[in-house]
């Protein structure tokens, strides 16, 4: 079994085993070593390192008379030898780890083998690959390395190649997504097209204009009034502390979510995020099961919307430090939302649907004619939002809306709906109302409409069942390539 370190993406598809970048074990386990060493330096600084440096540079003449210092002088040779030994052992372990961490890729599968004591061998079928992420935590990013996170449908169903040089990781991603591995030449490489770029000030603005800020302000006001009334200034300390925590939160979120960009690349969506540590996720449109636009009430002033998606993959334990990849855009304008919906569901958004969605986005609180809505008596069930609830069957799609304080509008292709239910609890029943729930894959979006007229809901549900079946059977299924239109 000839093994070599992978240098060119074109070599990857040969079905041969390849090693990853030699620094991988250092970056994976080495962080712990660095932390231990740093801690050791900090502990010994005062007693040992600082005095000896001072002596070395001739600032102090005499060494302090300490037990520790005498111990070091006596056993200097031994300490040096054991330190050296430790380094050698670590290097050997890292080297062995690097040797056994290999991956292989051919037309059908991707294999990753690793582990010295506990061996793991993970294999993923290439036709089941859902999304591919290129993640660059801060330290690897400084070294020009990245990890490739290949996700299949299901929970923790991902294969991670870490670490690879960035360009190699990007080439591999393209190679895997383009399917046919033999056709990868320079001319074929389409340039990504910038679609949405979230300005930093808008993202920070969206954080500031949030329910959390309003709550914080309310608390601070209450506390301040209380403090003035009581005359105890110690309470102000709590306010300062709260503000400090708030600023830390803003900075942390901005560093993680700033620089948010959506590109389109050969029909796929490419979502990049992060100021320091970056993560790039490539999402083929057929893996988007539903898109939801939500607007918390403080955003109404600015007309901002958040875009979430249910995707057929859940990041596993290995990737839980990365931002949730179900966020397609953290804060977008109406025009950007409309554009992204078109990209995420290509060929499915007719002019009529686009108009409908845009109208809803611009006036999320306006009652609309058409579709399935809540009758007047629905107010007894949902006093705030009954008049906004709406579900409408469009060619190939379902568009839904609900919520007053947080407006939620969703667009779901019929071919992605798994099943649908009509239900009613006692209250619903007393009012002759029903609740409709469309079942989508696990994710942040739930497709529900409540307080609908029972007869209408049942009729709509049956229409939906027929439409779903028609849409599903119009899509052929090819065993090796997944769905084809």
């Amino acid at each position: 079994m000839a093994q070599s370190t992978l240098r060119q993406a074109g070599d990857a598809s040969s079905g041969q085993w390849h090693r990853l970048h030699p620094l991988t074990p250092v970056l994976q386990g080495g962080v712990v070593v660095v932390a231990v060493l740093t801690a050791a330096v900090f502990i010994l600084w005062e007693n040992l390192i600082l005095p000896s440096l001072l002596v070395f540079f001739g600032v102090d003449d005499e060494l302090p008379d300490q037990d520790l210092w005498r111990f070091v002088q006596e056993f200097l040779g031994w300490i040096a030898v054991s330190a050296l030994l430790l380094v050698v052992v670590l290097v050997v372990i890292f080297w062995l780890q690097w040797r056994v961490h290999v991956f292989r890729m051919d037309e059908d599968v991707i294999d990753v083998k690793k582990g010295l004591l506990v061996k793991t061998w993970r294999q993923a079928r290439r036709d089941r690959v859902n999304t591919i992420g290129v993640r660059r935590p801060l330290l690897p990013r400084l070294l020009g390395l990245a990890k490739l996170d290949i996700q299949a449908a299901g929970n923790d169903a991902n294969v991670v190649l870490e670490y690879l040089p960035v360009t190699l990781a990007q080439d591999l991603r393209r190679l895997i997504l383009q399917g046919d591995v033999s056709e990868l030449s320079e001319e074929d490489q389409e340039q990504p097209q910038r679609e949405v770029d979230v300005p930093l000030f808008r993202y920070v603005g969206s954080l500031v204009a949030s329910v959390e800020t309003v709550v914080l302000l309310a608390v601070i006001t209450t506390v301040s009034i209380f403090a003035i009334a009581v005359g105890d200034l110690a309470v102000w300390l709590a306010v300062v502390l709260a503000l400090f925590v708030y600023v830390v939160y803003l900075v942390e979120r901005t560093v993680r979510w700033g620089n948010f960009v959506v590109d389109s690349l050969s029909g796929d969506l490419r979502v990049s995020v992060g100021l320091l540590a970056t993560s790039v996720e490539t999402i083929p449109p057929q893996r988007i099961h539903t898109l939801e636009f939500s607007q918390p009430w403080p955003w109404k002033l600015f007309g901002w919307w958040r875009l979430n998606a249910n995707l057929a993959s859940q990041p596993g334990a290995a990737t839980n430090k990365a931002p949730e990849h179900t966020v397609i855009i953290p804060v977008a304008t109406v025009a950007e939302v409309v554009k992204t919906v078109g990209l995420g569901m290509p060929g499915m958004i007719s002019g009529e649907v686009e108009e409908l969605v845009e109208g809803m986005l611009l006036q999320p609180r306006k009652r609309r004619a058409g579709g399935l809505g809540s009758p007047r008596r629905g107010r007894w069930r949902n006093p705030l939002s009954a008049h906004l609830t709406m579900a409408t069957l469009q060619p190939g799609l379902v568009v839904m809306r609900r919520g007053l304080l947080t407006s939620r509008i969703s667009v779901t292709p019929l071919t992605r709906i798994q099943s649908a239910s009509v239900s009613q609890g006692p209250w619903h029943r007393a009012l002759g109302l029903s609740h409709i729930h469309l079942h989508s894959v696990a994710g942040p979006v739930s497709l529900r409409a409540s307080a609908l007229d029972s007869e209408d809901a049942r009729k709509w549900w049956e229409e939906l069942n027929v439409a779903t079946h028609t849409a599903v059977s119009a899509v052929g299924y090819h065993p090796s390539r997944g769905e084809q239109a």
Binding site: A153, H289, A312, T415, R416, Q418, S419, A420, S421, V422, S423, Q424, G425, P426, R429, S434, H437, H439, S440, V441, A442, S446, S454, E455, A457, R458, W461, N465, V466, T468, H469, V472, S473, V475, Y477, G482, E483
Partner: protein, 160 residues
């Protein structure tokens, strides 16, 4: 939610026995737990203890008495393109699962169901919220239904 247009198949009446045994055991445990005040204070001078115990017993009897109605509310129907399942008396729910969406079909048997010759058929789609499991099917029916559904799912398969 009128159910006139669907030819519902009901589950086996023996499922009532399964539910009565399971619910009965659960309520006996709850009853034992709610008799604790009587043990502490002494049965002679605790009106409240007796009150709690009898209230719990009453609710238990009502739940048991309600079982036949709940079993009658269960139903499923194999239609042209999908399988529909309904359940619930107070909280009603009807689900339709297109055959092409079935990822796998599960047949499970608990100890009491086994003694009564019943199984539970669970349908799994890519969505966790589909939540269709049909209890109280006779063994042969469940196995037959499973094979039938798997065959249908294979011919109408549509990925995710």
């Amino acid at each position: 939610m009128s159910d006139t247009d669907v030819q519902w198949q009901s589950v086996s009446p023996r499922y009532r026995a399964e539910l009565i045994v399971i619910t009965g055991i659960a309520w006996l445990i709850i009853l034992a737990a709610s008799s604790v005040p009587l043990w502490i204070v002494g049965p002679g001078d605790s009106v409240w203890g007796w009150f709690i115990l009898s209230a719990v017993a009453l609710i238990g009897l009502m739940v048991l008495g309600f079982i036949p109605r709940r079993v009658r509310a269960l139903g499923y129907a194999l239609r042209e393109d999908d399988i529909v399942f309904r359940r619930g008396v107070i909280f009603r729910r009807i689900v339709a699962v297109p055959y092409g969406r079935l990822q796998l079909v599960d047949v499970g048997r608990g100890p009491i169901a086994r003694a009564l010759g019943l199984s539970q058929l669970s349908l799994v789609t890519a969505a966790a919220s589909s939540g269709v499991s049909i209890p109280g099917l006779p063994l042969a029916t469940a196995d037959q239904l499973r094979d039938h559904l798997i065959a249908l799912a294979e011919t109408r398969r549509a990925g995710l």
